[in-house]
């Protein structure tokens, strides 16, 4: 019977190294087929946002006092609804641009403040002091009949 495993000669070395390479690559590929689904599993799916472009609040324009502000949920995110002393409504995204806390209106200073790290903005959303790097986004507000409507940016 012919000896199949030659201890010497270039042929034996090539066969073994080819088999080793093949085995290693097959194992590697198998590991990839295990890890690929697992790693993708870890990343949560995009939540399906409703395709509404505007939101009618369950709030009448007359319910909001002048020179005040309150947080309202719009499409799952907090929005700051403001009314100035003259009675004009405005809205800003209420997620602080620093590290995501929810801001609040400060009546005694007529500004917008974030309690987490002391960031301040003006009522137009411009970042004034503290860590916030970007302004808050203003949103369009109008009154339809009696109800307040906010348009998504």
């Amino acid at each position: 019977m012919e000896a199949t495993a030659k201890a010497s000669g270039p042929d034996a070395v090539t066969r073994r190294s080819w088999v080793s390479w093949f085995l290693g690559t097959s194992l590697g590929a198998t590991l990839v087929t295990f890890f690929y689904p697992v790693l993708n599993y870890l990343v949560p799916p995009e939540s399906s946002e409703p395709s509404l472009s505007e939101f009618e609040l369950d709030l009448k324009a007359s319910d909001v006092a002048p020179a005040s502000g309150r947080i309202v949920p719009i499409g799952g995110k907090p929005v700051l609804l403001l009314k100035n002393a003259a009675g004009e409504l405005s809205a800003l995204t209420a997620t602080c641009t620093h590290l995501d806390c929810t801001v609040q209106y400060r009546a005694e200073r007529s500004d917008v403040w974030c309690a987490c790290h002391n960031g301040t903005y003006d009522v137009k959303g411009r970042n004034l002091s503290g860590p916030p790097p970007r302004p808050l986004t203003p949103l369009e507000v109008y009154v339809r009949g009696e109800k307040i409507v906010i348009k998504r940016a």
Binding site: L42, V43, P44, S47, I71, V72, P73, G76, K77, P78, A94, C96, H98, L99, D100, C101, T102, V103, Q104, R106, E108, R109, W113, C114, A115, C116, H117, N118, N127, S129, G130, P131, P132, P133
Partner: protein, 351 residues
Amino acid sequence: MRAWARDRIGWDDLVHIAAKKRVPVHRYTLFYYLGGMALFLFLVQVATGILLLLYYRPSSSEAFESVQYVMADVPFGWLIRSIHSWGANLFVGVVIAHLISVLFLKAYRAPREMTWVTGAVLLFLALGFGFSGYLLPWNTLAFFATKVGTDVPAQIPVIGHLLSRILRGGSDVSGATLSRFYGIHVAILPAITTLILGAHLLLVQRHGMSIPRSVEGKSRRSISFVPEFLMRDMVGWLAAVGLLAALAAFFPWELGVKADPFASAPAGIRPEWYFLWMFQGLKYLPSKIAGIPGEMLGVFFFGALAAAVVAVPWLDRRGKQGVAVAAVLILIAAAVLTVLALLPVPTSARP
């Protein structure tokens, strides 16, 4: 009976190994107790944690109520929950004390470098336990602490937002975040900790107790680990349990207010004491430094600090006090920041 055990699990060998272990006696021997204390407090957390998860419900609509139930209606629930919350803080404190004592006694010198590295990883795991566990009661404090805490990794360029999404289970902190943090807190971190802790303890057994250079060569008095040192260890553990029970009775851990994702962050909000130095430091960073967002620099700084902690055995130069001096400066800075974070600041006083 003993013969039965002897034949099946090699009881005699285990007893023989334990009997050989000795602990050197010198003026720093007291610090040897800190490691065992950290281990004991970890076991207290595991035990109270297991008891709590028998009642806890990890959904945003039931989590707060289930903790309330444990505090108010479950027999001794108030005791178990408060011990767990106080215990977490005590555990982190003792781990930090253990790190500091090993650092200044230079017990990380060769051949104990890997013991130090596994220890550093255990510290990060402990902070991970603290951070993930903090969200579980789903109260206002926890909700906003998690919002901020999961936004910090978002500052890392390229992969930051993906990391934040994976941590949060979405783009915002929500019930999905609660599920993830629960899984991390009761399954993922315990599994990883078991492995790393096992390695850490095996290495300690292998290398024995390190003797600080300044007492090397002096009289090598030592006591047996079993029973002498262990008995003293257990006195400490009993005192720790007593302390935790007293804290639970006289300063029960508060429930807070159920989290409302659409409420503003309340004034005076802040994280647990061991994160206060980070919290205060981030407050002082301006929004941009040379065009780079302030928080990104902050996050890089924290990352560099963590890397430096892991690399201590290689940063140390024989006979030089560089590492000790740097450690003292960093600790003083952290202490100052922590104290500043605790001072009450009236909102109208700030410019």
